[in-house]
């Protein structure tokens, strides 16, 4: 099987994640021919360009699409590949780097007006870094994506599941290599209260080791996130932040979670007199976008954000 792996706007964690396969990696490596994988073997863009169309069996792209070069590279990879998949949360949904979409013209804010990535102001440079795209995008906004190996980074079990299917030539189009059910179903924590009398951040409390984190006021995205990691984070005392992406039922994970958690909030007996206290609890949710859209802002937050931008342009 001819394999290509490429990184776009990525932290590198996805490339490292293959090591999680442990001894299984030896088996995988004995069955693939790596035709392009910049993190592992030396190959340049021109080597890729020389390959015939559709000559790569499977390509895995990790990272967000952030620069003009990212876009060009995945377009070339698409042309050269029979199957192309999004690997990891950034390629799948935009990931954490896509939270930058909240701010318009981020480089100008940081580096001053008129700043363009590339040569120092007023100078020409041969190896100028590529242009930033106006927005960080998920892979499927740029090229058709055949399948997804989700996660931040993908957990070993799902990587193994993917290779199994790839070797059996059984990658069905549109497949997401994770569960269809919610993470809560594979979480060993016990659920009782189903009501939130406060909202706290993980570092503010020492959570009870047995009880559901959401019941303890820690925003856990288990109810709207796909199963598949064995509830790794809740098992370790940290809430799920949604890296495997939403279940098919959830739709927009942030809005689904917003709905679920708002319905759980309680300040004593429900009724008009409780409204102010309920509002206080809801106000204590810090950074709703960063918390609820942590990995999915490019894919799910973008349509609304676009509306807001247009609106600002009209007003300006």
């Amino acid at each position: 099987m001819k394999l290509a792996v490429y990184w776009t706007g990525s932290c590198g964690g996805c490339d490292v994640s293959f090591l999680e396969l442990g001894m299984g990696l030896l088996e995988v490596l004995s069955r693939v021919e790596i035709v392009f994988w910049p993190a592992l073997v030396d190959a340049k863009r021109r080597d890729l360009e020389r390959l015939p169309a559709r000559s790569v069996d499977v390509t895995l792209v990790n990272g967000v699409i952030r620069t003009a070069e990212n876009k060009e590279m995945v377009e070339i990879l698409r042309e050269k590949s029979k199957f192309l998949g999004a690997y990891g949360a950034c390629a799948h949904l935009g990931g954490i780097p896509a939270l930058a979409n909240q701010v318009n013209g981020v480089t100008e804010i940081v580096f001053g007006p008129g700043f363009r990535p590339g040569a120092p102001l007023g100078e020409a440079a041969e190896d100028a870094p590529p242009e930033l795209l106006p927005e960080a995008l998920s892979l499927d906004e740029v090229v058709p994506v055949d399948f997804v190996v989700p996660g931040c980074p993908p957990p070993a079990g799902l990587i193994a599941r993917f290779f199994e299917a790839a070797f059996a030539e059984a990658i069905s189009p549109g497949r997401i290599f994770a569960g269809e059910k919610a993470l809560c179903e594979e979480c060993p924590r016990t659920r009782e209260d189903r009501r939130l009398t406060r909202i706290v951040r993980p570092h503010e409390v020492q959570p009870d080791p047995e009880k559901c984190l959401l019941d303890q006021g820690i925003i856990c995205l288990g109810p709207v996130t796909r199963a598949g990691c064995g509830a790794a984070c809740p098992k370790g005392g940290m809430p799920c932040t949604g890296c495997l992406g939403p279940t098919p039922k959830a739709g927009d994970p942030a809005l689904a979670m917003l709905s679920a958690l708002a319905s759980l909030v309680r300040a004593g007996e429900e009724g008009e007199s409780a409204f102010p206290e309920e509002n206080k609890i809801l106000d204590s949710l810090v950074d709703p976008i960063g918390t609820l859209y942590k990995y999915s802002f490019a894919k799910y937050g973008r349509p609304l954000l676009k509306l807001a931008r247009k609106r600002q342009e009209v007003r300006a």
């Binding site: 009724g271 609304l304 509306l307 009209v314």
Partner: protein, 139 residues
Amino acid sequence: MPEFEPRIVAFLCRWCAAAGADLAGTSRLQYPPNAIPIRVNCSGRVEPQWVVEALKAGADGVLIGGCHPGDCHYVVGNYKTRRRIYLLRRMLAEMGIEPERVRLEWISATEGARFAQVVSDFVAELKRLGPLHGNGGRG
């Protein structure tokens, strides 16, 4: 250029606000025709995703009409919706969309006049805010 006419999607609880809207109609009250009513079984049924979907699909504002506190036929549906809309408005504001575009009102089955007033006020407010989509269909 003709005046901007806001488009409103109104999710109305069948036990109260939808009946109030009917009463406004049968009482022949005059109010602007900008709201497209969608009847739901309880305001508690309205998902934040529906509200956002309406905004994305072309609405300039979304009205949710529910029973007064204490009157919800499912006891707490309207309380649930109040909390959801409160948080949704906060999130919309953070994205740069005016939270005033999403409005929750308590309207009972006998309050035909109040329904007409709520719609009139909302239309006026949305006219002040301007269209959410491009030129507001005036092109």
